[in-house]
Structures are given as C-alpha cells and as structure tokens.
Symmetry: C2
Subunit: 366 residues, 2 copies
C-alpha cells in the first residue's frame, strides 16, 4: 500500500432504506462505496469512500473485453447489542489476493482493505437490517481499467466495495433444494481459474444453470472437467455428504473454490468430533453408497445461504433423495451454530467474528 490515506466524501442525497421483509439478494445498494485506483507509477492509491454512483469506464477498458477481474463476498451482521460484526473477513481478503495472483492483478494491502471495509460498514451501519436472517452483503471487486485491446495484464485497476442489505436466503427458513448433476457443461478445470473468484467461472456456469432451472432444479452439481466423474461443487457452493459415520467433501484441487464457509464447516465438525474426509468422491461412488442406504445427508455451504440442505440429487435417470427430502440434523445444527456465531448470539470458540468498532479512526474527512 503506497498511500494509506482514506478520504471520505459523504453523500448529500440519502436513499430510502427498504423494509427488512422486502429484501431480495443483491438488488439494493447503500449510500456509499469504497474505491481505490491502481497505476504503475502510484501503485494502489486514492482510497476513498464516496457516494454510490455509476463508474465512468472507458469502452476499451480491459475488463469489458478480456474479463480480467476478481471479487469477494462476505457479510456484516448485527449483534443482539446492535453492533456490526464481520465473519472471518481476513480469509476473504487473503483469498482476494490469491485470486489477484492467478489473474495477474497487483496485490492489495490486506490490513488496509480490512480497515477500509470496516470504515465503510461503520458509515453505513444503519443499512444493516435487523430482522432474523438478514445481513449486509459486502462485495469487493477489482476491475481492469486500462483502455487497451492487447491481450496482456492491465496496467490500471479500480477496486470497488459496494454494500447490499440482503434478506434471509430462505424466506421460510432453511429448506432443502433439488439439484441435477451437470454432464455437458464444465465450470472449471485443473490449470484453469476454478480456484479464483473471477468472473469467467461464473459466466461459464450460466448456460447450465439456465437449462437446469427450466427443468425445475435450483442448482447444478458440477463434475470435474477432465473425467466428468469427480464431484466438485454445487452451483456456487461447496458440497458435503454424510456417508456412514463421516462427512465427505471434495478435496481442494485447484478447480474447487476454497470457501470460507467450507473451512468453517470442516473446523466446526472436527470441533464436535465428527470425522471429516476431504477426498476425491465420484458420482458413481456416491450413488453406490446411496443405494446401500449409507448417505444420510447432503448439503451445500456458501456465504449467501450459509448451509443449504440438498433434498434431491438427480443423476441421469437416477434419483437420490437424502433424509426423506428434509433438512438433516447435521445441516440444521451447522446452520444454527454458524449463523448463531455470525450474529454474535452464541459463543464463538474460534474467534471468527470481528467487531466493526465505531472508534476506528477515519484518517481524513474530505
């Protein structure tokens, strides 16, 4: 971080806040955003909190043409005392730099970005909704802005952090979803960008999701791109299966996202003494175990839904129904415990939660 000054320019026209019970995901944004620019001569510079407004971007900016961009997603929660809390934000910021590395984007100062995030959330704290299951979604994104049509890493970037108050992911409480194994399309492959949070992975997933949605599925289960047999992810979530007396999740292999909720699930299960096995798992093996009555639960994990039980998984002509299509006890316990910690309602044995303290110094008010 070449210049650690954070300036704040407050808006003069405040937006109306939506009702807590009318919140959707990612459609409403707050009054302010954080922006910071990168140039070769100045490095990351000109960090400031400004009114939320459209970005002015050259039509030749590389992000539009060559997809050089990375992002993160985390949430701020309101504690019972009304304090804003963040869940493991340092892991998201560290992963942002891992994505930067893969996409040839210059690294950001992790401590400064955390500081800036907290300042922004503090300024926008009245936007954090307080109804059960609601939160303030935090979206950092880095885009390549150099106006150049050559295929090469950009020499100019813009980091933007926007905030969106979001409703409970499942309006009627945690609810099992129906998913289908994707046999044709591929999300990511070894040697590709699957482990990075970069736009291209999500763009590649749209077609399969669109087809699955038409067939009545809420997500697809992605298999590996090489042999199309190893289970990788569900939609944009990591995936877990309770098989016999252990919980199995695909091991990180370079094409699976290293989810913060995934890590938290694994650590929590181990804390409870539940055996977790990170390993390769084929769809054939899963079906074999299912037929033998050994698959008791299946669920996805991610920042948006936290835990998403899988009620039904269709694989070609085979249908697997887990736990009678109902939320399993382990999925429910994980959901209750993780959200309890995130909202500061229960003990936090791992010190995962960080307060957004009002006394943190704002360097300079513009």
């Amino acid at each position: 971080m070449e210049n650690r000054t954070l300036r704040v320019f407050k808006t003069t026209t405040y937006r109306e806040k939506p009702n807590s019970d009318e919140l959707a995901f990612g459609r409403t944004f707050t009054d302010h955003m954080f922006v910071m620019d990168y140039s070769e001569s100045e490095g990351w510079h000109d960090a400031k909190i400004v009114p939320y407004e459209p970005l002015k971007v050259d039509p030749a900016a590389m992000v539009f043409h060559y997809g050089q961009s990375v992002f993160e997603g985390l949430k701020a929660y309101l504690s019972p005392k009304g304090e804003p809390l963040l869940f493991r934000p340092r892991k998201n910021i560290a992963r942002l730099n891992q994505s930067n590395e893969r996409l040839c984007i210059p690294p950001i100062d992790e401590g400064f970005l955390l500081h800036a995030l907290k300042q922004l959330i503090h300024i926008e704290k009245d936007w954090i909704p307080s109804s059960e299951g609601t939160s303030l979604y935090v979206r950092p994104v880095i885009i390549s802005t150099e106006p150049f049509l050559g295929v090469a890493p950009s020499k100019q970037y813009k980091l933007v952090v926007i905030l969106s108050p979001v409703g409970a992911y499942y309006k009627e409480g945690i609810n099992p979803i129906k998913i289908a194994v994707e046999n044709e399309y591929v999300r990511a492959v070894r040697g590709g960008t699957g482990e990075a949070k970069t736009g291209g992975n999500y763009a590649a997933s749209l077609k399969a999701q669109e087809i699955a949605a038409k067939d009545g599925y809420s997500q697809v289960l992605w298999l590996d791109g090489i042999e199309k047999k190893y289970i990788e992810e569900v939609g944009s979530m990591n995936v877990f299966f309770k098989i016999g007396d252990e919980v199995v999740t695909p091991q990180l292999n370079g094409s699976i996202l290293n989810g913060v909720t995934r890590s938290s699930v694994i650590e929590m299960l181990e804390h409870w003494g539940v055996m977790v096995n990170e390993r390769k798992l084929t769809i054939e093996e899963l079906y074999y175990e299912y037929q033998n009555g050994n698959v008791q639960e299946a669920f996805g994990s991610g920042t948006a839904a936290v835990i998403s039980p899988i009620g039904q998984l269709d694989w070609n002509e085979h249908q697997m129904v887990f736990n009678g299509g109902k939320t399993g006890t382990l999925a429910k316990k994980l959901y209750d415990t993780l959200t309890g910690i995130q909202y500061g309602q229960i003990d936090d044995p791992f010190n995962w939660v960080e307060k957004v303290l009002p006394e943190e110094k704002i360097d300079k008010v513009g």
Copy 2:
C-alpha cells in the same frame, strides 16, 4: 431487432489522428462509437452513433462481477482507390451471435449490426490509415449491465463498437515468432467456453502468457485441457503445420475458436489444391514428425497478424525449429494473398471483401 432506427450524434471536439508510422495495436480510438442497449421490455433498442466517451456503468453491473460479455474483432482496410473494405464481416457477426448463445446473451439482428458497422466506419473513414499493413481495427463488445449480484443471466446489456487505427503487426514485415508449449495452465476445456469469444478465456490465458514472456517467448501453444496432449491454439491464434504434403490444423472441438482467418486459410489452400487435414494432432506426433524431417512449416492465423510464422517451438527440453527459423513459402504466399484480398489489391475469388459504401442511408441524424 425491435427498433431499426440508427441515430447519429456527431462530436464537436475532433481528436488528433496519429501518424501512420507511430500506430500501435489497440491504444488509439476514433471520434465516435456505436452503442445499442437491451432491456427485457424493449429488446435491443436505442441504436446510435455517439462521440467516443467513457461508459457510465453501475458498480454492481454483472459484467464486472460475473464476466458475462462477448466480443468480436475484424478490420477495415483502405483499397487502392481509397475505399474502405471489410473482410468477411458477416462471419464475425454470426460468430458474435454464437458467443451470445453460449453466454446466455440475447441475439442481435445480424443485418442491422452490419449496417451500423458500415455507417460507423463510413463516418470514421478518415481514420483508416493508408500506410502498408495498417488498418482500422473494429471491436464490437457486448457487456451485461444489470445491477444485480445474483448469479443469473443479466436482463440488461449494452453493445458497443469502437474503432482503433492499428499499425502493421510486424513493423519490419512478416517475422517468425518463438513459442513454448504450455504444460501447466489451461485456456479452455470441452464443455467450457473455449469456442466463444468471451473475456474469461482471455483472463485465464494471462498468467501463462506472462510467464512465457519472461522466458523470452512471444506466445504459448495451448494443449487440450483434458489430456494435455492435443494441440489446440497458439496464444490467441489458430495454428497450422505443413507435415509431408498436407497442412494439418486441429479440428474444431468446442474449445478451439472458429477463426475467420482459419476458415479463409483452409479455403484458400484447398483452392490452390493443397491438401488440408482438420484433425486431432498431439504434440508427441508433431515432435515425431519433426524428428523425421517431415514438418516443413508452422504458422498461426488470426485477425491481428493475419499469418504469423512460427520459427521455433519449445516443448519441455525439446526444441523444434521450422524452416530454419525463417518464414516458409506457404506462410508467405498465404499472407500475401490474404492481405492482397483484404486491401483490394488482387482478385477476390471468394467475394470475401465487402465495400463500405458512402451512399448507404443514415436513418436519422440526431
């Protein structure tokens, strides 16, 4: 096309045109651009030619986060009579719609876009440089603009066409390049987006290109993402090898770009009676044939360089030098013939070239 009106808003501040001998690739843009918007209710609408200026894009626009974008690249050339010519523009526009289909972007009216392209080029015809090897690069791009953080196809898009006067790709004439086989990183895979011109493919390629450049290579040769043995592309070009008495190029398989120059090379070679074999080709086979003295030439094909001879290809510890590191006769003949047709200097047996006629009607001047 729901609304075929094309309005024109001329700039009042004209930019200075660069000298022909100072032109780089994709760094200078002309005075005007074409823009057209898409919404669910209006379809593609509000087509207009406007002064070149930054786009105002919401920071939550999907293109920044989920990479939903497609583009094309073609060139306008000045004929000996000073008429602007386009080379097979309908193939580029058709491919734009094929990319749209893969990326869940609503199709554009191909005839209307061609009309708009020609109008834009006609207005900017003084920007087409006239020195040998120079041209006006035409870049259509479609970006997803809906401000929404859910992973789903956008409901709003913007199509933009910008123009850039470009210099001769090889300042000192056609010149062989040195490339390396990429063993670690993958550009695209079967079931992915390799056949589409979408940002994510190019973002994924940056890291390998950066490493190769440090090692003194101008491009990498991509192998297939599944078995890492079949030759796919070179950098952002298609690739050809003259082996024995035939020319071999990797067959289209869903992860190789269906290049317009690639098609033109194949058709021209067949027109000349040269045998062309579109088939799978492993790097092992190529090396085997090389060792037996059967590989006479290697070259890439693409819009930017047209034909790019490959002087040297390094594969792990193996080094292959083609035609003594010099431009081969076939590559030179293809380059001379294709550029001759593109510039309207020689006979065009396939009617590949289209004139940008000044008399084409401009619907309405704003």
